[in-house]
Amino acid sequence: MEAYLGYLLYFLSLATVGGIYAIFALGLNVQWGFAGLFNVGIVGFAAVGAYTYALLTTAESTFHYGGLGLPLPVGMFVAMVASAVIAGVIGLICIRLRSDYLAIATIGISEIIKLILKNETEVTNGPRGINKIPRAWEHFSEERFYSSWPMSWFNTPEGWAVFFDALPNWWWQPCFAATVLFCMYVIYRMLERARISPWGRMMTAIRENEPAARAAGKNVTARRVEAFVIGAAIMGFAGALFAQHLRLIEPTNTFDPAKVTFLVWVMLILGGSGNNRGAMLGAFLIWTIWSASELMIGGIIDLAGYVFQSFDTGVLATRAGFLRMMLIGILMQVVLQKYPAGILPEVRPASPQSNK
């Protein structure tokens, strides 16, 4: 029974993180898949979302600014807005130039954001990071939540304490995973609606043939900025979920460009850019490969250490993670060259006339 519980929890954490990455990939799909905007600063938008959420919702702390203790949905919403505002500023500056410049500017802004998070120690606690970030569902069992409204309307703090003590300590995991997947589903439905709407078809037109779209009287720059801002808002939201999942965030290792920006790109390209379902499929697939290969490489190294007794496995263990990154990079190059459409290629919505 215990073993099955372990598998269940592993599966739940796979679903949770996979779902968060799927939201990132959906956000990138709006920018790259719909509008053809090359954003390589995903990690910056994720960091803005995560830090905004963390500063607004944590309990008061002496290490960083506030800890305003606001309700969780408020934190999530402000995280989206903050990420969208930054994207709007970059978009207005760079979108009229060619896509290379947007790439350089986004990678730049994500480094600057990390620099600010690292150096403004008064506000963000610098490299030491922020901890005790409330996670959805689990936060109900924290005293500051169950002793205040609305939870205090239903039970006394003592009653709640007894109630939560009676639950198994992993009770929040299925709830959190379900919440993440539900958020992913809602965003997916909204984007699917956007894709087949006139707006989505106009985005495709702009991406495929900009002069023609301009000649047809479409405001190309404004539409592109819109797509960039919407995508960044979704990334900010995913960043807030990421902070909830980790509960401890710091600027350098948590927001490593290789592990956020690059993985999300590989997910979208493998799954199929332009296809929302493809983005989600790619996210779950790559994340499963990524976390399963960690276990597998660990096993192989142990085996090698067992077979060759004189072998120093410590060196291998530290470098195996980088080898994995390299293989994922090569996978991306192969997909880019041989299967540019991905697993689920983009499907163009039929025009309304053809349905008649």
Binding site: I107, G108, R319
Partner: protein, 316 residues
């Protein structure tokens, strides 16, 4: 005057800024040539720089182990640069060439992937920890110190910085000779100005692309080795840290303009270091932690005001 103001300013802000500027300038030459001739922003350039520095370190280590002599980094860089140039050729052949006829953004994406692959490769081969490039503390050059003290100024310039200045000047002079006097250099400039016209006049574009990788590669490895000489160690993030300032230098100077990249690199390097000088009061004008931000701010201002750069480069 010199006692109160100049000593600190020149030795601790101006000279380091100039050194950094030389390194950025050499790196930006490669970026601006690739951007101008192959028409894409090469994100893997910084990683190839780093690879060159690591290879140089390896050759130095091998020479010490087998021959028992300490080789100067600049000598060891010569065989290393051949390997790096072949690396440039290989990445071009396997990862960039398939997209030459396709949308340029695909190549940018491939180079972005290349950046991660190369960095991971370095981390797998050499390990993720810092390595010492040249041990010991760099002492100021004694003859320069004596000479400058005689004329009432005191210059504390270590030998490594003199090598960097001299090396940069040599590279820029050689580069300008190649671009202005040789046939292939003229062809490179022609392709940069108008690829279609160059093709029509019978210029071998593949040869020009090879020449671009060689020139860019030699400058890149020089920049990588100079950087490693300056900070005296190797780390796997050093290429990525240089990337943004180098792009900023290339954009500031104008895309496709090698002299622009040199000027841009010097401006970016100097302004990064001088931004930490206490211009007003005693505190640094800008916290040294934000040095990278200066390069980015200059780049953003340029993109808004004058996207074609100071020297009227290409703007897309």
């Amino acid at each position: 005057m010199w006692e109160s103001f100049g000593f600190e300013f020149v030795n601790f802000y101006f000279i380091p800024g100039l050194v950094l500027g030389c390194i950025y300038a050499l790196g930006a030459i490669g970026i601006t040539l690739t951007f101008g001739i192959l028409r894409f922003a090469n994100f893997a350039h910084g990683e190839l720089m780093m690879m060159g520095a690591y290879l140089t370190w390896t050759i130095m280590a091998i020479a010490t182990a087998i021959l028992g002599i300490a080789v100067h980094p600049l000598l060891a860089a010569i065989p290393a640069s051949i390997v790096v140039i072949y690396l440039f050729f290989w990445t071009d052949k396997f990862f960039y060439k398939p997209f030459r006829k396709a949308d340029t953004i695909k190549v940018v994406m491939a180079s972005f992937g290349m950046m991660l692959i190369l960095r991971s490769a370095v981390q797998v081969i050499w390990g993720p920890n810092q390595l010492t490039f040249v041990p010991g503390i760099a002492k100021p050059n004694p003859s320069l110190l004596g000479w400058s003290s005689d004329i009432g100024a005191m210059l504390l310039i270590p030998n490594k910085h003199l090598f960097i200045f001299a090396g940069t000047i040599v590279f820029v002079v050689v580069l300008s000779y190649i671009l202005n006097r040789t046939r292939i250099g003229k062809a490179m400039r022609a392709v940069s100005d108008s690829p279609d016209l160059a093709h029509v006049t019978g210029i071998d574009v593949d040869q020009v692309i090879r020449a671009t990788w060689i020139v860019g590669g030699v400058c890149a490895i020089a920049a990588g080795v100079f950087l490693a000489m300056d900070i005296q160690m190797l780390e796997t993030t050093m290429g990525f840290r240089m990337l943004l300032p180098m792009f900023a230098a290339a954009i500031l100077g104008g895309i496709g303009k090698p002299y622009g990249a040199v000027v841009g690199g010097l401006v970016i390097g100097l302004s990064e270091e001088l931004s930490a000088y206490p211009w007003i009061g005693d505190a640094p004008l800008l916290s040294p932690g934000y040095k990278t931000g200066v390069a980015f701010a200059i780049m953003v201002v340029m993109l808004i005001v004058r996207p074609q750069g100071l020297f009227k480069g290409r703007s897309f």
